[in-house]
Symmetry: C2
Subunit: 346 residues, 2 copies
């Protein structure tokens, strides 16, 4: 069963292919009756124009490349949904590539996407280790705009981020405001840029309160609940005086809650906990988990809008404009796990 082409339509309508093309693209200079006739034939034949043939002639594919990592987890999957929805609203289709080894540079994915003539690229895989070192050499000689998510901003690149540092700050600041002074940190893997940022926020809040952010108060996790559990155990062994913990995601917070209950500590009375992400389950943990919410859907949407802007500009021969660094504000959600400490002396 062969594809129906513009030829078939032209023949059936008794016009030239150009005229059909004009009707398809809603261009003027087609007699109303001709237009109608062509449209009827299109319907009857169920003709659908080939997007890739179009891409070839127009030099635009209305396609965006997305490179992501860890889509099975909360953050990346929510970001991806935001990306897709905004993209489809703007008339783009997505080409998806998932990275398996986040440590390596994966430049080749970029070229793969270019082979499909994408109009732009969203690099949504997190910055881990030095997996971004390639950007300097590659990006400048690219033919299409690229927007990065979740990576350190850089003078030549367009980047969209949630303000992880602010998130770490408000989480810690909240615990300080509740009267806690000995606040531990269960960090994410510190080769992740975002994890380092959250840690910085924690440090900043402690310093601001005149406290010392000792290394002993920090334990590095892997984002997993198991690592959160181990982390808290380790922390409490070393520093039994710890009264509160900021866990850098909700899974690690859950693991910490498990460990707390194992060690006979009640939350929040003996140990307050704040997480990060606001996974849907967080409100149903026992007790419910205070956490920092980031609007990842909006993160994805913003990135697409920015990319679209760059594409439009480039397409009109405009001077691209300065690369932007966009930062979204996270938001604190207070629940039971960090409720204000009961009155009375320690």
């Amino acid at each position: 069963m062969d594809r129906i082409t513009i030829r078939d339509v032209a023949a059936a309508a008794g016009v030239s292919r150009q005229t059909v093309s004009r009707v398809l693209n809603e261009k003027p200079d087609v007699a109303p009756e001709t237009r109608q006739r062509v449209q009827d034939v299109i319907e009857r034949l169920e003709y659908r124009p080939s997007s890739i043939a179009r891409s070839l002639t127009q030099g635009r594919s209305y396609t965006l490349g997305v490179v992501s990592y860890g889509v099975q987890y909360f953050g990346p999957s929510h970001t991806l949904v935001g990306i897709e929805h905004q993209a489809s609203e703007l008339g783009y289709t997505l080409l998806l590539s998932l990275i398996r080894q986040p440590q390596t540079s994966s430049v080749h994915l970029l070229h793969d996407m270019l082979a499909y003539h994408v109009d732009g690229i969203l690099w949504a895989a997190s910055e881990i280790g030095n997996n971004r070192d390639w950007t300097e050499k590659e990006i400048c000689q690219l033919t299409v705009p690229v927007v990065f998510l979740d990576m350190q901003s850089c003078p030549n690149l367009s980047v969209v981020n949630v303000d992880n540092r602010l998130g770490g700050y408000i989480a810690t600041r909240h615990l300080l405001d509740q009267g806690y002074r000995h606040i531990g940190l269960i960090a994410g893997p510190l080769d992740w840029w975002s994890a380092r940022q959250r840690k910085l926020g924690w440090q900043e809040a402690l310093h601001e309160a005149g406290l010392v952010a000792e290394d002993g108060l920090v334990v590095e996790g892997t984002w997993s609940a198991a690592s959160g559990q181990r982390g808290l155990r380790h922390l409490l062994e070393q520093h039994p005086e710890i009264e509160a913990v900021f866990a850098c995601n909700d899974q690690m917070a859950l693991g910490a809650m498990k460990e707390a209950s194992k060690s006979g500590r009640r939350i929040p009375d003996d140990l307050a906990i704040v997480g990060f992400d606001d996974v849907p389950e967080a409100a149903f943990f026992c007790p419910s988990l205070s956490t920092v919410r980031q609007d990842l859907n909006e993160l994805g949407r913003t990135a697409v809008r920015e990319l679209d802007r760059m594409i439009q500009a480039a397409h009109q021969g405009e001077p691209a404009g300065e690369p932007k660094a966009i930062l979204l504000e996270p938001q604190l959600l207070v629940r039971e796990s960090s409720a204000v400490r009961k009155a009375g002396p320690l």
Copy 2:
């Protein structure tokens, strides 16, 4: 900055475009030295062949369309990862479309993908309500193969599923084996085919044990933890004698655990709970949650392999073969929430 084409390479190497093409496609009949010279030029010019131009001439795009829904949730995101990895291993790139309104038929997405000349389509959006009614009329007249995931099998369609019914059965059977007799069901939304299947499994197990699967023992949730909490409350109000509950996903199980603890019931002593999915957090709930694990990664991979098989067949002019219905077996994980009931009379 213009794209480097096969012409540029041909000119620079002093050969015809055809020879360059032969080198690119590793065809024989090129003199070793010519081949080397061409390859050198390719490297020097950093030439990358255009995949879409190739698609046009070859009638193959090495591209698969994926239509999914709810990618921000556990199941669909894990399936997507499986799909992507298997696809990329087989040399395919993915075109991704996410549905917003699962109730509506979304046939147009199918045509959108065809416009991009995809070699095949994976319909990974769940069957909900009658959002599959279009398949009968559309599929037969399609030019490319389609594989469906998570939907009722149908004589003319290729379908890959986890055996949800079996999953419901083994969860319930496990509770029966533990000595529980009054077993409630917190079902998923019953317009979802998969939710109905899990319910069927529950019924089957009860019947087999000579028990009646009364309607009063069933409450319909929305997959959310909140609905699980409400569900259990409702169930216990109506049937205080309930000793165990099968919640059709882990989130609802979590909500039920919350409600149990609110109402002063201990798990598993006063109420046993089994979930479905095995989200990574399940092992860290308090108590840890018994659940049914489905290998969603493998689900996605299997679907891609099947689709690839169909594509290959069609491409060699073979008679497509019978549409297959593939079923994967889920697996019971016993944890604390359904531990064997303490000895002693009821």
